[in-house]
Amino acid sequence: MSCDVERGIDAIQVEVFSNRILAIIEEMGAKLVRSSFSPNIKERQDCSVALFDAKGRAIGQAAHIPIHLGSLKGGVDAVLRDFDLDDIEEGDAFICNDAYLAGGTHLPDISIITPVFYSNGLRFFVACVGHHADVGGSVPGSISPSATSIFEEGIRIPPIKIMRRGILQEDIIRLVINNTREPEDRSLDLKVQVATNDFGVIQTKKLIEKMGLEAMEIAVEDLLIYTSRRLKKHLLALRQGSSSFTTWMDDDGLEGQTVPLSANVKIENGHLLIDFSGSGPQSRGAFNVMTTGVIATVSYTVKALLDPDLPANDGLYSVIQLKMPRGSIINPVYPAAVGARTTTCQKLAGAIFGAFAQLLEKEQIMASSHDVLAGMVFSGLSKQGDRRYVYLETIAGGNGAHSKMDGMDGAHCHITNSLNMPVEAVEHEYPLMVEEYCLINGSSGSGRMRGGMGVAREVRALSDDTTFSGRADSFITAAEGYDGGLPGSHCRIIRNYGSQNEIVMAPKQRLISLAAGERVRMETPGGGGLGDPSGRSIDDLAIDLEDQRISVARARLDYGNELTEKALKMISKSNPEWDF
């Protein structure tokens, strides 16, 4: 693309400049996290910060959440599209969130974008985005998998000025916050976002002053060239050619058929082309991904597969070309709903991982991970009885086996990495009791290297009139094993587990009403195995058996009698009283 790859770069300056840019962005990120009010931004750090040049090219980001760079870039592009350069003034700041009007990926992610002026010219943009816990719409939390249009998902904000020449537009803020369920929280967090950018503007100006504008512009070009060159080198080292992989979702959010997500990855002369043709049609529910979300997901996979420390900037994008068929689940037509895009992005990342697996060296390969974002939402009357609470929990699963190691047990994968809420905090805060939080025995996909174990979390309602919603996927589908490895276990929701009135359900449930004493359990998928199970080392199998990660019966089935017997013999040596 625009980068002149033949040009030499300053090998020292590029690293020093990169540190300078990251210092600014990290300082902004620290300020945003430190000062924000809502647990979503402050505790779970569901927010990101980035720096762009005046053309809207991303220079760097503090990546707490990979998908955010897509919406920030989309937002800056939308500002440049909707406003003449003459209409952008020093002291202005823009707010936006909409998927169709402002490059957003779903409405709860609200971006604030602030231009940086220096010697009478627009030079850069600083931008930050936070996941606001509620932006209105048909359900608390604004994400309803069965929403059928974006109008059910909350307030839509195109790029508009939230600050004009340094004056905060209180009327705009009132308009936005009063379209949400928690106006006070929204107002505090939005003002913190604006202040974060103000700080970023000052720091960026200081850096321009220190380096000189021309030198800084050259350093930006160098950084982008350097990044694309670094990525190209990785791509050139891969097997050239193309390869496809398809993963599946149970349905599109409303009942019906499984939905494919297909990626055809082609590597040619150090360029990466990914064609998503063959992916399912646009979701009738909220599982659609905007193209900015696809770009962010692709960037994540490129870093994860090829170079975890690769800077996330336009140099990376310049090496990638994407084909996203319009009207499909990864490029929906207005006004399709997009709230529940995370699960689709997880599956999409899994498809790209799968396609790459055939081009990577054997020792770089990883089998499929659980590839969902499992969520449990409880709501009811608070302990004090004075208000309704909403409690959202995400639950990790098993990750794919890696050629050099077993998959991680009970850890988030791909584009999410959020913290759980401590059991003691849940029980203190809500009329709920956690009955079990554990790794599920036998949930990993067996293999030479096994997949990670899925997680079970079981919660008892202590008061009547508690409602529960669950969202995930993979009730029918599962994390695939590679190279002879076996698939991981499925995802499911179980009401009153182990009792006479136990009911097993798919993991997409909306507003189930629970009576006091009733329990609901969510089990997340395990990761896929890698390599033929018969190739597993006896030591590893023995440890898994001893640690009850797999039952003897299941081991015999997956790993064969001979290997299992040897492993059992090994255990009995160190455990004279071992009881099988």
Binding site: N19, R229, L231, H402
Partner: protein, 685 residues
């Protein structure tokens, strides 16, 4: 017999074990260094002690205080060679320590795994029992299950057992009952109860801290016994004090019971030293950084006080006890320079460490490091380091720099070496700026405080990117940690979670809790023989607005009884506004933890003085030093640090050498020596 009284501080580092001696009568300070003995750190302590008593002609009977910073617990966690332990948990929750907070350690790098649990799943036994969120017993503990579980652990050869039940911070009864069974059936096992190690809300962090305590327990006990024996054999009559992570000291007895508290004592000692030295020169706000062989520790001191955190991970394991807040990055003298796939020059995070070390050490190091770059540019003494203890091979470093860095990048050797220093400095600067901004501070209001062997070498380069108005270099910057140990008092932290609303009933509960904690503290003081007049207590409440999930620490000033609920609420709002920029006066405040810091005063300030004879700085020698393309090679005077007297002024370019470190003064800097023998560097006007 002389009536000299000596205090000794010993800090065990990765490469060297440092000793600081303080003559308690005269205030005179002496330093000593011996190579560390990682297999058994007490050997180096033993060797150094006998060397220095001989060298300085000190009778062991004159040693009235022996303070010790130890990395035994930390290294056990880093190396994970100790046997795994047993754990008893509430039924349904044995995997809590394995799932943790369910995050992966790196967003993008799947080859990095979480640190494996220190208790294997087979040795994590679930017990039928349940305490609820209000502390009441829902299901009484099944003692038969406990007996069976403990017997099973015994047959598997387990040497240490941790117990962590849900809500035990509110009601310890079940843990105590189960603990009695362990004591009865496994009398030799090391036992940790979460209600004793950390009676604090949030099960994963509490369990992790309790498990770490049990894991490091047996070996730490052995080490302390050995240490005491060695001291006795050397005729030292005083019992050692052990540094812990909050910058205070513990008696051996307490450290043996709660070794988890010593995990982060090394960096803590340095920060205590830095805070103390800077504030006695009138600099109360500093950004301190310690550049060692493999890593750099960064910390912030505000109003003379180091910042504390209660959330640290040690080698991947959360340890939740108050610790001085230190951020570490992988940049040090041994950091290796390399060229990445995109054609950029990188420094670290791989390090040549102490062995094989930089190319110039001639111990088999093949990769050029930051130290080699400093040597090539004349910034380091071209022949020796550490007063002759390490010989340097300039030629070899030069050749490797040429072949590995400057030829491939088509740069001169000077430019390549300068680049390595600039890159390492910009990385350190980024970490310092991060530490400053995490609490909302601007570096322009702080002094930069550089220590560690390699800190003063790059201080001016680092400050180019940080922008502090001045740089402070303490005397003997390479042995600051050992001095910090002499400046630390006996201290211990007590905590109890109670989770109440800040209103009249809740306040009564708070006061009752503090009384209980104070009783525990006094018991400890009596045990440790701290006299009444030396005892002091600091009270803190950790609280939040309803709906938040993070707490602010609010000190309760002076006597406990004098504090009122109304004043606390007002103080909370003020602190929240100061910390986060706003207050919510309508929202109820929730009090989460009562925290008591008990201090037994044992130290007194070290008043180091610069020599007062106002002689002109004497130039020891001159050598060619390269100061970047702007200045080029310059014939540069070299000074001996000890020869610089009070108010001496040195104009850059200059090199100031001392045994444990080298300070670089670029042409645009000047330095003065203050009353306490610190070098104060500022940019020339």
């Amino acid at each position: 017999m002389s009536d000299n009284k000596w205090k000794i501080g010993v800090d065990v580092g990765g490469t060297f074990t440092d000793f600081t001696l303080l003559n308690d009568n005269t205030g005179e300070l002496k330093f000593h260094k011996v190579p560390s003995t990682p297999e058994d750190p007490s050997q180096a302590v033993d060797k150094g002690l006998s060397e220095l008593t001989k060298f300085y002609d000190i009778s062991a009977f004159e040693i009235e205080y022996f303070g010790h910073g130890t990395t035994v617990a930390l290294n056990m966690l880093l190396e994970r060679r100790a046997p795994t332990i047993g754990l008893l948990t509430t039924k349904g929750f044995r995997d809590v320590i394995e799932i943790g907070r369910q995050t992966r350690p790196h967003l993008y790098d799947y080859t990095l795994k979480r640190a494996p649990p220190l208790a294997r799943r087979v040795d994590r036994k679930e017990i039928t029992e349940r305490i609820t969120a209000d502390g009441s017993i829902l299901t009484p503990i099944n003692m038969e299950e406990v007996e069976l579980a403990v017997k099973q652990l015994g047959t598997r050869g387990i040497k240490a057992v941790a117990i962590c039940f849900l809500h035990a911070y509110l009601n310890p009864d079940h843990e105590i009952l189960a603990g009695e069974v362990v004591r009865r059936l496994m009398p030799d096992a090391f036992l940790s109860l979460s209600c004793e190690v950390l009676p604090e809300f949030r099960e994963y962090e509490r369990a992790s801290t309790t498990v770490v305590n049990a894991y490091v327990g047996p070996k730490m006990q052995d080490y302390l016994v050995r240490l005491e024996k060695n001291l006795t054999r050397n005729n030292v009559i005083t019992s050692p004090h052990i540094m812990h992570s909050n910058g205070g000291m513990l008696t051996v007895k307490t450290a043996a019971k709660l070794p988890v508290r010593t995990c982060l004592s090394g960096p803590a000692a340095g920060v205590v030293g830095a805070a103390n030295i800077a504030s006695s020169s009138g600099y109360n706000n500093i950004l301190a950084f310690d550049v060692g062989g493999t890593s750099t520790d960064v910390s912030l001191v505000l109003d003379g006080q180091p910042l504390f955190t209660s959330e640290r991970t040690v080698a991947g394991y959360p340890v939740k006890s108050p610790a001085i807040d230190v951020a570490a990055i992988g940049a040090g003298g041994g950091s290796i320079a390399w060229i990445d796939g995109g054609g950029a020059l990188k420094v670290g995070p791989h390090s040549a460490g102490a062995s094989p070390g930089p190319v110039a050490y001639g111990l088999g190091g093949e990769h050029v490091t930051l130290t080699d770059a400093n040597l090539i540019l004349g910034r380091l003494n071209p022949s020796t380091l550490l007063a002759g203890n390490i010989a340097l091979d300039f030629e070899k470093a030069y050749v490797k720099m040429e072949s590995q860095i400057s030829n491939p990048l088509d740069l001169s050797v000077e430019a390549a070496a300068t680049g390595i220093i600039k890159i390492a400095s910009s990385g350190i600067a980024r970490a310092i700026r991060g530490v400053a901004s995490a609490k909302g501070n601007s570096p322009s209001e702080f002094s930069l405080f550089a220590y560690g062997g390699a800190g003063p070498l790059c201080a001016a380069d680092v400050n180019e990117e940080v922008g502090c108005p001045r740089i402070i270099i303490p005397p003997a910057p390479g042995t600051l940690c050992a001095r910090g140990i002499l400046l630390s008092d006996l201290s211990f932290d007590f905590v109890r979670s109670l989770l109440v609303i800040a209103e009249v009933d809740g306040w009564e509960a708070v006061m009752n809790n503090f009384e209980v904690l104070k009783e525990q503290a006094n018991k400890l003081f009596i045990n440790d023989e701290v006299i009444l007049s030396a005892r002091s207590f600091k009270y803190y409440l950790e609280a939040r607005y309803m709906g938040q999930s993070y707490e602010l620490r609010i000190p309760l000033p002076g006597q406990l009884k004098s504090n009122s609920l109304v004043e606390f609420i007002a103080a909370f709002h003020v602190e929240h506004k100061k910390e986060f920029g706003y207050e919510l006066v309508e929202r109820p405040i929730e009090i989460i933890n009562c925290r008591l810091e008990a201090v037994g005063k044992t130290s007194k300030p070290i008043s180091e003085k610069a020599t007062q004879n106002k002689t002109e700085p004497e130039i020891k020698e001159t050598r060619e030093v390269y100061f970047g393309s702007a200045f080029g090679w310059k014939e540069t005077p070299v000074y001996e640090r000890a020869g610089l007297s009070h108010w001496a002024k040195v104009i850059g370019p200059a090199v100031i050498e001392e045994m444990s470190s080298t300070t670089i003064l670029p042409p645009n800097y000047e330095a003065t020596v203050d009353n306490r023998a610190n070098l104060i560097l500022v940019e020339s006007s």
